[in-house]
């Protein structure tokens, strides 16, 4: 699973010549700086021994100001965002002596995994308002409740609980210092795919800040797919559920029968 990290180096030379494919351009017109990023692969395969993966993203800043760069006033934030899905937070309360889920809140389309890497702590890169507007970082992620939430007084506690649980379970991560300049304009960022990574389309996003002001952003898709047997099983389970169930039972029958034949005492 880690071979693409090595392959990235070979890709490095290409990263300058070939513009990143299928990029979602986003630039601040007031600045001349341009941001380019590249990853060695646009697809990660989940195999039977999948244990998560470290992904290295290379990028370059074009049209930068030499003196500002020397003073370290350029900052880069790179995020790897998993596929989005609705997530429900439930709260337990004691009812008649036992703990029962009593209230819940569903947040609309939040990423199932999120790994953030930056040149330094993102709170020191730009004012919280700016990060909040752009939705960068776990603390600024947009958490929009679905449906009726009453007077909204408990919105804060549910949002905090959601962030805390996702971070402690390791699917949301941050690494201040995970982005390093390897030459004047070249940088390297490492982000992590957790072992219980959701498969689907992930998005790598890179943001360039100058003196706390957003300058440019770039995004690249990264597909995480099950392969081989894993893919076959998932497809069968969802497309031919009845036959899949039948096969599961047949497997059990053969195993049970086989065991009683092998261990037969006579």
């Amino acid at each position: 699973m880690f071979r693409f990290a090595r392959a990235t180096l070979a890709f490095l030379a290409l990263a300058f010549a070939v513009p990143a494919q299928a990029a979602i351009q986003d630039e601040n017109a007031d600045f001349t700086e341009k941001l380019e990023i590249g990853i060695s692969t646009d697809e990660i395969a989940i195999t039977s021994d999948f244990r998560g993966a470290d992904l290295t993203i290379f990028g370059a800043v074009d049209g930068f100001d030499q003196s500002l760069l020397a003073q370290g006033r350029y900052n880069i934030v790179v995020s790897l965002e998993g596929p989005k899905d609705n997530a429900t937070v439930r709260k337990k309360e004691r009812v008649f002596g036992i703990w029962v889920n009593t209230s819940s809140m569903t947040f609309e389309l939040v990423p199932e995994s999120y790994s953030l890497s930056s040149t330094r702590d993102i709170e020191t890169i730009a004012p919280p308002g700016e990060m909040g507007n752009m939705g960068i970082g776990v603390d600024h992620m947009r958490l929009v409740p679905l449906g009726f939430v009453g007077d909204g007084s408990n919105l804060g506690e549910f949002r905090n609980a959601f962030r805390r649980i996702r971070e402690t379970s390791g699917v949301y991560e941050r690494d201040p210092g995970g982005v390093q300049f390897i030459s004047s304009s070249l940088f390297k960022a490492s982000v992590r795919l957790p072992a219980n990574v959701p498969n689907g389309v992930h998005v790598v996003r890179a943001y360039l800040f100058r003196d706390g002001v957003f300058v440019a952003a770039k995004a690249l898709p990264l597909r995480v797919v099950k392969t081989g047997l894993e893919q076959f099983i998932t497809q069968a389970a969802h497309q031919q559920p009845f036959f899949y169930g039948l096969m599961a039972v047949l497997l059990a029958v053969i195993t049970g029968w086989g065991a009683s034949l092998i261990f037969r005492k006579d």
């Binding site: 997530a87 429900t88 937070v89 439930r90 889920n101 819940s104 893919q231 559920p241 599961a248 065991a259």
Partner: protein, 308 residues
């Protein structure tokens, strides 16, 4: 050594899963139960999503009950007719159970209901069995015979209409309580992922007064079909049967069961029942404690994919 579970969508240590399967298989072979009531809580404890644990547990029960039922079939200790009546009730129960499972999953109370059912059933059955086996052991110490079935004694069950003759069991019994028992076990199978042997066996002995020698075989016979049906229905409606996880559990389980059977044969009946009772009680108490003590985190997060 890790293995990726395609349906549960997470990586687990294969050795832990093998160990679980073997340990549960050993116990199920020793006591003649399917072991579903042990494997499902263990899987949930090991972070397998409960929806996957329940459906996959049922699949593992199919393998272990087939292995056991074949042995009983060779010995001629299965009452097919009685098993079929139980089965009719069981299939109806399993259908209702899967529907109930989806409903509870939607309203977010599935984990509570599963835990409560486990606590109530395991403590009741475990308590009753322990009491019965201790009484039997005391009597055995005084050299008194302890017939599990007291011929001639009748309870309200024997006054019901629609009676049918079950030749192999040598009983004449109404089909209502038999199918009713099957129905209840069927519901439990699909909601809890258990075969229900640990409830079925005592109920058949004490409530229906069916001779002990055919009880285990007949219960295993009907559990095969109800669990198999549950697996297919769970696979079709909830897509939660993880065939990789099930296969690893089965392999370890059937091997463990063979050694369990050998150890079981060396113990006396009432000793075996007392041990099983203690095991059942222990699991029940463990789950009860979890419901009562304040949880580490009162919040929990689920994403729509595994809405549970």
């Amino acid at each position: 050594m890790t293995i990726y579970l395609p349906i549960a969508e997470l990586s687990v240590n294969i050795l832990i899963i093998l160990g679980m399967g073997a340990a549960v298989g050993f116990l199920s072979g020793m006591f003649g139960v399917g072991g579903g009531f042990l494997i499902t809580p263990l899987l949930i404890f090991y972070n397998i999503p409960p929806v996957v644990a329940v459906a996959t547990g049922a699949n593992q029960v199919v393998a272990s009950s087939i292995s056991g039922a074949i042995t009983h079939f060779r010995r001629g200790t299965i009452d097919i007719k009685l098993g079929t009546v139980l089965l009719c009730g069981g299939l109806a129960g399993a259908t209702v159970g899967v529907w109930l499972f989806s409903l509870l999953r939607r309203i977010g109370q599935l984990d509570l209901v599963i835990s409560l059912l486990y606590v109530v059933l395991l403590s009741t059955v475990g308590g009753l069995m322990l009491w019965e086996s201790i009484t039997a052991m005391r009597k055995a110490a005084k050299n008194q015979a302890t017939p599990l079935r007291r011929p001639g004694q009748h309870n309200w069950v024997h006054g019901l209409p629609l009676k049918m003759r079950f030749k192999k069991s040598k009983i004449y019994l109404s089909v209502i309580p038999v199918a009713g028992l099957g129905f209840c076990i069927g519901v439990l199978t699909s909601v809890m992922g258990v075969g229900g042997g640990f409830i079925m066996v005592p109920a058949m002995i004490y409530l229906l007064r069916i001779p002990t020698n055919v009880v285990v075989g007949t219960s295993l016979f009907q559990i095969i079909f109800v669990s198999a049906y549950t697996v297919i229905v769970q696979a079709s409606t909830n897509y939660t049967v993880d065939i990789v996880l099930a296969f690893v559990l089965m392999i370890a389980g059937v091997i463990g069961a063979q050694y369990g059977v050998r150890v079981g044969q060396k113990l006396r009946g009432e000793q075996l029942r007392a041990l099983l009772a203690l095991l059942v009680l222990a699991v029940g108490i463990r789950l009860a404690i979890e419901l009562v003590i304040p949880p580490k985190d009162v919040y929990s997060v689920v994403s729509a994919g595994f809405g549970f």
